[in-house]
Structures are given as structure tokens and as C-alpha cells.
Amino acid sequence: MTVEAPPDAATEAPPRRRRVTSLEVLCVLLLVALVAQGWITSVLDAPALRTGATIFVAVCVQALPFLVFGVLVSGAIAAFVSADALRRVLPRRPALAVPVAGVAGVALPNCECAAVPVARRLMQREVPASVALTFLLAAPAVNPIVLVATAVAFPGEPMMVLARFAGSMATALVMGWLWARFGRGEWFASRVTRRVPPPAGGHSRWAMFAETARQDLVDAGGFLVVGGLAAAVLNVAVPRSWLDTLGDQVVLGIVVMAVLAVLLALCSEADAFVAASLSALPLLPRLVFLVVGPAIDVKLFVLQAGTLGRRFALRFAPLTFVVAVGCAVGAGVVFL
């Protein structure tokens, strides 16, 4: 391998004739891992590490197919949907377009990790950020699959489904409107806002579809792995048994469940079953858990920071957390 280093390797040492390429690094890494396999396995033999490793792989394996679906949608938008077409569909004023995005979220069953690349691609197609962000929050939280799972998990509590729908939808709409009013484009990473015109010819469209999907997958996949690691550590470190000691303290319960939703980073189709199993708590804190989880969690935060920009995520994620808790409590007071 005597190929020259790529132009984006700006962080490396000043140019020499022969540089180590990432492909060689990868080969060495894989070789070392193979040789040290026995050692790695024995290190991971401690019970807590073994449990963490299982949960890490489980989170990755569970989320990767959904991420693949998301990058295919994202690639299709990049290659086949023009900014004009989207402009015709969406109302001109963001204040009106935000509810349309919320409804679109109901129709498109999507896991939260899949929604991030799609939202980024929508913004590149000149969709207002507020509208794309509403879609980002609505798609994983209010789609039919999630609502049915909630109904199954809470068989005696039909209002739980309605409350979850209302709380999540309100979160998405409020965040969209807040962003339309106060959001600033410069918070996004520059690659998000750069307008990329769709290619003209039929063949190059397919090529662009494949290349966009591949690139999104490589980017977002890495961040998903960070999220999986965080979820695994916290899953092992947070003992669920102390939840039972919270009992009937509603306010404390709401705070703890909201934080837990962020830390555990569960998939939005499964969190209802976890919430149902925490039967020592009243319904309201568990509703907060269901509304906050799909809107913001550690894995989603890392994914947003990597895909949409760190400055954006540092503002968007805490605000989402506060708005989601507020909307969940509101929905709970009305419906439960």
C-alpha cells in the first residue's frame, strides 16, 4: 500500500513522502485484536463487564437495521427529491409547516436514530430547520408501532396511549415553534446548511443515492456506537431496584424517571414495557419516561452532536428535555 494520504488528514504530521493510511491502521488493529483475543476475552470476563458488553452489542444490533433504513430514506431525499417539490408540499410559513411535519411523523414509522440523518437531509433540501426538527422529534414518538406497543404494555390504561401521543406531539410542535422563533442557522455544523443540488442525470442520481446513504451510515454509525457504549455503562451502573423505593413521591419520581429515560436510551418501541414493569411508581412519572425517552437520550444526543453539530446539540438537547418534561406533565394532568 503506497497510496498517498487523503486531503482531509490535516491533523496529521507535516507531509512526508510515505504516510500511514487508515487502511493499514485498521489492518494492524484487527491483527492485534485477533492475536490478543484470549486476553480481551479474559479481561471481559468480570460479570459487570460481560453484562455491559452484552447490552452494548444488543443496543447496536437492535438499532443498526433502523439506522440503515434511515440512511436509505436520507439518500433518497438527497438524490430524488428537489427543494422545489418539498416547497410545494409544505406551507410557506414555518408556523404552519411545523404541524404538517408533526403529522408526517405519525405516518412514517421511524426509530429515533433513523430520524437524525433524515432531518439533516431535509435541511439540505431547504426545508426550514424548525420543520425538520419537528419531524425529528415526532417520527420516533407518535408513530403507530410505538402507540400499539404502549397499548399492549398498559392493557388496563387506554388513556396512557392518548396521553403519550399528546405529550410527544406537543413536545415536537412546541420545539418546532420555539426553533422557528429563536433558532439560529449558525448553530448547525456548516455541512448541514450547505445546499447540495440534486444531480441531473438518471445514472448519477442512483450513484448519489448510494454514496449519500453510505456516507451517512459511516458517520451516524460511529455515533450510534458511542451511544451504545453510554447506554451499556449506565444500564449496568444504575440499579433499577432503587426505583421501587421512590414509591408515591410524584415530583421526585418525575425527575428521576426523566433522567432515567435519558440515561437508559431505550428504543421507543420497547420503553413502554420497561415503564409498565416499574409498577411501584404512579402513572405520571412513567408517562414522563415515555415522552422524554424518544425525544432525547444519550445515544440521540451524541448522534445529533455528530450529525447536526455540537453547538446545535448543546442548545437543542437540554431545551428538548425541559419541554418534553413539561408537555408530559401537562398531558398527564389532562388525560390521566
Binding site: 482531509d8 452489542v57 388496563g156 454514496e211 451510515l217
Partner: protein, 239 residues
């Protein structure tokens, strides 16, 4: 990171997904219904990588790739799941997670009436009846018709020693192992000191009526008639 390296990583990752979905190892991490999702995801990854490799090879001189000049250092992390699947192959959740979870109320508690009772369909006749641990625990705690009393039930799970107590336990998952929920039954009158934690057994047991209480987290106690060691089932979880 170079495009070639990214493609190699995608091939490895897609291969990892396909490997676990064909060997059945995926059942340690996700529910059975995810198998076709994993296969589809793995195939798409391989196709995307293959398309990119073929295009790079056929169009060597065509070097401008305007859309990805940004740093993709995060892509290195894709090595971790690849190594985890191929080299470590983490086992299914076991006794460590059961002990971590402590005593939690069974899932049916969420759906039961205020007094905790609920009516279950009658059990089929038979001398020894196989039941999942989840159904056994739910019936033991909440069945107002006491359908388990006096019945011999065959349970399948792994051994967990907690102090001087011995449980048979199994996890229920609704999506992936991150949301796994332990279900356990306290074994009475069985000498299982020779069976280490996480070894799988099939036990014929009888419920001690009234043993699941709020105080013990609705963990039922059973008297053991016989214990038979078995290999770990292909699907280690209940659903």
C-alpha cells in the same frame, strides 16, 4: 478516514450482522422477530460498500468527492461492534444481571386490578405442565382462582445463587437485551450447590400457596420434585 477503510469497515459490520442472524447468536441480543431486519440491514451495508468499492475501482482517476471532506474520525468506532461480535461474542444476560436488578415486582402488577387479582384462563390438564417463568410468576401472584395450587409445573431457566437462597431465573425481553426484565422463582428443598450460577436446568416444581407477597417482591417459592440439567436453549429469553 479513507473511503477504502470505511468500505472495509462496512463490509465487516454487515458481515457481523449476517453472521449472528444466521448462527442464531442474535437471539442473545434481540427478539426473534428482528432476524429479517438484521439480514436486511446487513445486506444493505454490504451492497452500499460493494457499490462504492466497484465505483472506486472502475473510476480511479475520478477523485473529487465534494460531499465528504469533513472529518470522519467517528467512523473508527464502528470497529468496536465488529470486534465485539467476532472476537468476544458476549453471552446472553445471566445471573449477574438478576442480582443487579434486585427484587422487582412481576410485570403483571402493572395491569392487575387494585386488589392485585386478575382472572387467568384455566390451565390445561396433565400430570406435569410446562409453563414459562413469566406465566408461572404472574399466575402465582395474581390469579384469584389459584389455578397453580397442587399442580406440578415444569420450569426452564438458569440457576442464581443469592446468599443462601437458590433461584431459577430467566429474562423476558420486549425488544433487545437493554430492556431485559428478570423473572425468578425461589427454589425450596433442592440441593443445587453443585450447579454453578448460569447453568441451565429444567425443574419440576410445585408452588407454595401464598408465597408471593408484596414484601418479597412477589417472588414465588416452590418445592422442587426433580431437577434436570439442560444446555442453554437456543432462545435464552422469554418474550
Amino acid at each position: 478516514m479513507r473511503r477504502e477503510t470505511q468500505n472495509v469497515l462496512l463490509v465487516l459490520l454487515g458481515g457481523a450482522l449476517l453472521k449472528i442472524s444466521f448462527t442464531g447468536a442474535y437471539l442473545r441480543y434481540v427478539k426473534p422477530a428482528h432476524q429479517w431486519l438484521l439480514i436486511a440491514g446487513g445486506v444493505v451495508m454490504l451492497v452500499l460498500a460493494a457499490v462504492s468499492i466497484v465505483r472506486d475501482v472502475t473510476a480511479r482517476r475520478h477523485v473529487e468527492h465534494p460531499d465528504h471532506e469533513h472529518s470522519t474520525r467517528s467512523a473508527w468506532l464502528l470497529v468496536l461492534p465488529v470486534l465485539a461480535v467476532f472476537l468476544v461474542a458476549p453471552p446472553a444476560l445471566g445471573s449477574d444481571s438478576v442480582e443487579r436488578a434486585g427484587d422487582a415486582a412481576p410485570r403483571a402488577a402493572a395491569s392487575a386490578e387494585d386488589d392485585g387479582s386478575a382472572l387467568f384462563p384455566a390451565l390445561p390438564p396433565g400430570e406435569v405442565l410446562p409453563l414459562t417463568l413469566s406465566e408461572f410468576v404472574e399466575r402465582a401472584a395474581w390469579d384469584s382462582a389459584d389455578s397453580l395450587d397442587g399442580r406440578r409445573i415444569r420450569l426452564t431457566g438458569f440457576v442464581v445463587h443469592e446468599g443462601d437462597k437458590t433461584h431459577v431465573a430467566r429474562f423476558a425481553i420486549s425488544c433487545c437485551a437493554a430492556d431485559a426484565y428478570p423473572i425468578k422463582v425461589l427454589l425450596d428443598g433442592a440441593d443445587l450447590t453443585d450447579r454453578p450460577d448460569d447453568s441451565w436446568i429444567r425443574a419440576v416444581v410445585e408452588l407454595v400457596p401464598g408465597s408471593p407477597t408484596k414484601a418479597n417482591g412477589y417472588v414465588p417459592t416452590v418445592t422442587v420434585h426433580s431437577v434436570q440439567p439442560i444446555p442453554q436453549p437456543e432462545d435464552p429469553y422469554e418474550h
